[in-house]
Amino acid sequence: MMPKMLEVKALSARLGQKQVLEDLSFSLEEGRWLMIAGPNGAGKSTAVKAMTRGVDYQGSILFEGEDIRKKKSAELARCMGVLAQSNPVSYSFTVEEVVSLGRYSHTPGLFSSDRRRAGKPERDMVEYALELTGMASRRRQSVLTLSGGELQRTFLAQALAQDPKLLILDEPTNHLDLLYQKQVFELIGEWLKTPGRAVISVTHDLSLAKAYGTEVLLMDQGRKAAWGRAEEVLTAEALKRVYRMDVYGWMRKMLSQWT
């Protein structure tokens, strides 16, 4: 049997004295889109950080059956691409320079990312990512002059250029207006159609989680509150328990403003 794309077993992590993750286990197969939801401080972002070895953790994280701690940095980056929650920038790199760095793990040489020297497949990946995110027309622009949404799309393009098997998005629609929220989710849905790929995204938007997620991991205080298919997990009782409010009632009330 093929090992699962991602398997997280008994994951625990501490930040200082605080236990932020406790005994978290879940797995993900290819072609799936896992939504991680839960209140602030539930440990969602820490779980994402652990998957990219950004925090020390106990337990194990296996990618295609292999412990990620045994992988080299570049090797891990070819498996997983990450869009961080925020990407503050302070030097005037161009959009294209940032996106091209996404190819780092594939071509570690000093000048291999240059437009002139890079092979066609290399340029094609960068081009594809720029086109897909709608940033192609702004390739020469300095990242310092971009709006929050454009910056977010630039770094999404970088993660796509990385050509990972698993794409991890930490609140991808954070800085985006409604139109781009829709576009980004549709674009990722399109990206996911190629076999051998999977997506994990952390989100606060339960409607988006329900609409696009094939499965949902609901977290509360560093623990797994529920995990399974979206419609099984996002029940009125489970949400009430985790969010300590009547989520269903609230959502309906919000929706009724539009009728």
Binding site: S73, N87, P88, S90
Partner: protein, 257 residues
């Protein structure tokens, strides 16, 4: 360093690393640490060692206070560290008052009486440490975009950072042991050149190398001619010019410019 720390004000002199290296050199003179094989290796080795230790200490402290290693924290700690080092230096000088003339040279920075052997040593250090840094230009670019981002795209953050920190300390240590504490060249040059070359380190590093050398030569020229026949220490000239630019940069950064 500005790239590695994603901090446009980072530099050996603002972080106190140069002062640390100078302290190392001063200690070597005051306590007579020498290596029999090479005449001036004593000051050099201690300078490199002290530069590296200073860098570790400053970054370690800054990291404990503020995990993002933000601009203000590092600069603040650098300033405090520089003061701490200068007081240590005073203590050392008190104990070795007979060599005081020799010691002030290191705190001021001067190219007086330096010849080709010194230039050769510098060249060697440049090829070795500078080469190590240049080979990591792409990683430096990634660091300049953000350390977290660097990790995400597959840079071995810990290893590369350690290599770069060692190389930087090596360079600063050797430079200080030859020329004393000549401040602000490393701060000002990349700033001006970044406007010309852009932030890509594959162009910025070589440009800064030549730009920095030109700046130092000009400063040296000024220091030798301005009060002719008396000669100023070149460190005074670079610090004067550098601090003016520093304030300008800080002012613009604060206004979001």
């Amino acid at each position: 360093m500005q790239g590695l720390l994603k901090n446009p004000l980072a530099d050996g002199s603002t972080l106190g690393v140069s002062s640390g290296a100078a302290l190392g050199a001063v200690c070597a003179i005051a306590f007579g640490i020498t290596f029999p094989a090479l005449p001036f290796a004593g000051t050099m080795v201690t300078a490199v060692l002290f530069a590296f230790l200073s860098l570790l200490l400053i970054l370690g402290l800054a990291y404990r206070l503020d995990h993002s290693l933000s601009t203000d924290t590092i600069i603040l700690i650098g300033v405090v560290f520089s003061m701490f080092v200068s007081s240590l230096m005073s203590i050392v000088i008190t104990f070795a008052s007979d060599r005081i003339q020799h010691i002030t040279f290191w705190t001021m920075g001067s190219l007086q009486g330096k010849g080709y052997p010194d230039a050769l040593v510098l060249l060697g250090a440049l090829v070795f440490f500078g080469g190590a840094i240049f080979l990591h230009s792409r990683e430096l670019n990634a660091f300049a975009i953000g350390e977290e981002n660097a990790r995400h795209i597959g840079v071995d953050v810990r290893r590369v950072r350690l290599i770069l920190l060692i190389a930087v300390s090596g360079l600063i240590g050797v430079c200080v042991s030859v020329g004393g504490n000549i401040g602000f060249v490393g701060l000002v040059t990349p700033h001006i050149l970044r406007m010309l070359t852009g932030p890509d380190h594959r162009r910025l590093l070589p440009a800064s190398l030549f730009g920095g050398a030109c700046f130092l030569m000009l400063a040296d020229l000024v220091s030798r001619t301005l009060l002719n026949p008396r000669e100023l220490n070149v460190g005074i000239v670079t610090s004067l010019a550098g601090s003016a630019v520093f304030i300008l940069i800080f002012y613009r950064a604060r206004r979001g410019g």
